[in-house]
Structures are given as C-alpha cells and as structure tokens.
Amino acid sequence: MVRQNKTGLDIQKKAYHTDKFYRPKEIFKHSIIGTPYEVIFNHLSYEHKIYESYIELGTAVFWIEKSDLLPIVKIVKSLGYEILSEMSAIDMLELKGQFEMFYQFLSTHSNNTDKRRIRIKCILTPNESIESISGEFRCALWSERETYDMLGIIFEHHPHLRRILMPQDWVGHPLLKSYPLKGDESASWYEVDKIFGKQYRSIIGPEQRDSARVDEKDTFNFARIGHEIEKGGQTPPVLEKQKSQKALFVKNLDPSLSKVLKERL
C-alpha cells in the first residue's frame, strides 16, 4: 500500500501498524443480481451447484463444488474467459482446517467489456486431491506445479507433477503456514547433507543466523538487553532479583500465572 504523502504529516516516524490483533477490514461484497455478471452466474448455475456468488472489487466470485471444477472451467472458457491469470491455494488449515483454491480468469473478448474478471473458488480438505485444469489452460501446468511444490496439493491427471521452485528432494512444503520461516531441520542441513553427507554435520556446524538481530516482539530475549552475561555464565533470574528489592504496593509478576492471549477478549 502506498501511503499518502501529506506535508506536515511525519509518516516516516509512524509504524505501519502496531496493533497485534489488527484485522484488515473486510472488502465490501455486492450482490451479483442485476449486474452484467448475472449472465455468467446463470450459465454456471444451470447445471452446477454454486454455493455463493458475489462481486468483490469488480471481480465476480463463485464458490463451487470441488468435483465441478473441470466442467465449470470448460464453460468459463467457452464464455470468452481465455486467460487463466492466476491460480493457487490459500492455507486456511489453522482457521478452518482446509485449503481454498482460487482460479482467476480474465477475458479480453469484446462482449465482456463490462465483465472482465471472474474468480472460481472451491474448498479442498487436506489429503484430498483436485482435478488438474492444465488440459484447458496450459499455463496451469506451471501454476499447479508451484501449488504442489509450495503447499503439497496433488493435482490429478497433471502430466508431470514435480517440484518447480524447490529442489526435487526437499522435505516439506514451504508456503504452508505451519512451515517455519527459517526452515525445519532438514532444510537447515540441506546443502551439507547433499554435498558432504550427514556425517559432516558436526564438522561444519549449524547455520549461524544473525545473532545481533533484536526482535522487539520477542519479550523474553528483549528483556535481557542491559542484563547481558558472560559467555557460558548463568542467567541471573531477573524476577528473583526484583523480588529481593520489592517496593511497597508493587506486585511481583509470576510468569507461571500469566496468560498469553490468542485474541482480544
């Protein structure tokens, strides 16, 4: 997002957003009835089940059944939406226990000047596979490989479903929200294992990540700034120290009694 450039407003000093529980506003959704997209809706809903449909930022969104994907894609193509501009999946495993597949179509047809973009969405539970649409849209050959590589979704009847960004023998799917940013164990030893073999791990040693970095959200380590100790020395229990010089009316913090909020009460 480009921030507004106003004189007198010191934007540089402002944090982007500091609210830990910030949730972006939901985009306003229009009804599809009475808009040019209604024709598409009628075409699709004639034979197939459409769970939900709305217009979001000028794009018509249709939620469909997973098994209807290929026939619907064929209809969409015949209606002039000949460009699959993007497709992938969204990891909603933590929130809803499922993936959301999305397929964005664009039409350059002159009949569709007022209804350029549509989006087909469907729900995929983990361990389920989905039909490949690469027979209809060849650009899906690569997009589906990427989706497989990054999220581990299997596409049926894809001619060569292999990893595309990560090496063939990579373990894990990095775009899953459960995948740690700095990689799991096999990721952190990948090049060592591959080039020298596992027995070299002890010679080369673990990865040296940036140790000077201060993570201001990490309250545990951040709290120790100014309380540094010698290498190998014992960490003085900060709370204990406070206890000894307890001031009047000041309650000691017992970390075992503290609660971590998952969301705002």
Binding site: P167, Y179, K182, A187, Y190, E191, E207, R209
Partner: protein, 169 residues
C-alpha cells in the same frame, strides 16, 4: 626486414634480472587471475560493472571466463540458494588447482538479509573462502580492492609448497 639491434651495454647494462621461481610464478599467477563468472543475484551487476570499461578489470589481467576449467578464482556474487549449493560446489571442484574464492556481498558471506529456509547462510558452509567482501552490494571499486588483496596474498605464498586442504567454515 629491419634489423633490430639494441646496444644493451649502452642503455642500462645487461638484459638480466635475477629473481626466484616463486616470485616469477606468483607474479604470473597474481597478474592473470581469471575469475569464473558466477553471478547469482544483484551483486553480479556490480561484478559486471567491474568487468566493464569504466572500472576495467582487464588491466589487472583479470578476464572473466565462462568455464571453470580455465579459471582460477571464483567470485561468488549474490545469494546462493540451497537448490544451487550443489552446483556451486561442483563448479568449484572442477576448477584446477591452485584456486581461490572471493565471496562478494553480504548474501554470499552470511546469507545477508535472507534469513530464510531457502538461502545458504554463508557460502563458506560449502566451499572455502579466501576473501570476504562486505557490502550490499559492494561497489566495483571494492571488488577491485578485494582482487588486489587477493593478488597480495598470492604473491606472499610459496609457489610450490603443497597447500594443505582448505578448511571449510
């Protein structure tokens, strides 16, 4: 054909210079460091600029080679991804001895800002590095300086001494 006669006695004495084989070989080596073109990310643009006419690496006798077989210094310019690590090592292994490595830029030195699963956190995890060149991205002058430091290092070493296998990390 014109006769070319030089009166050595008249100019500056006899045409003989005394030196050691060591310094002769090291002079040869250090003044014709042929780097393997190994640009991986944005640092490679600076490396290319160093090769261009403005900074002119050729005057150091440094000519970029596209083949590991004829090059004796590897300039790792850019972010080494884990997918790429194996090829990096393979190219290094294909270079003839003696060989040197310049690690150019923060990414090659330490992984740089890419503190992620996919980036090698320092190219010295896979190949031994002689010169670490800091910066993101280092200017071409810095690369020139690194090369000069490497030349200095080469001139100091014994040409025939069997070098012990270089230590990783």
């Amino acid at each position: 054909m014109a006769r070319h006669e030089v009166n050595y006695l008249k100019n500056s004495g006899i045409p003989i210079a005394l030196t050691t084989i060591d310094s002769l070989l090291n002079w040869g080596r250090s003044n014709s460091l042929w780097p393997l073109t190994y640009g991986l990310a944005c640092c490679a643009i600076e490396m290319m600029a160093a090769g261009g006419s403005r900074f002119d690496f050729d005057r150091f006798g440094t000519i970029f080679r596209a083949s590991p077989r004829q090059s004796d210094v590897m300039i790792i310019a850019g972010t080494v991804t884990k997918k790429h690590a194996e090829f990096t090592r393979r190219l290094y292994d294909q270079m003839p001895e003696p060989k040197w490595v310049i690690s150019m830029g923060s990414c090659a030195n330490t992984g740089g800002m890419f503190n992620t699963y996919a980036t090698v956190q320092g190219v010295d995890r896979i190949i031994p590095v002689d010169i670490y060149l800091p910066g993101c991205a280092p200017r071409p002058e810095t690369l020139q300086y690194a090369l000069m430091v490497l030349q200095k290092k080469i001139r100091k070493q014994k040409a025939f001494k069997k070098t012990p296998p270089k230590r990783l990390v």
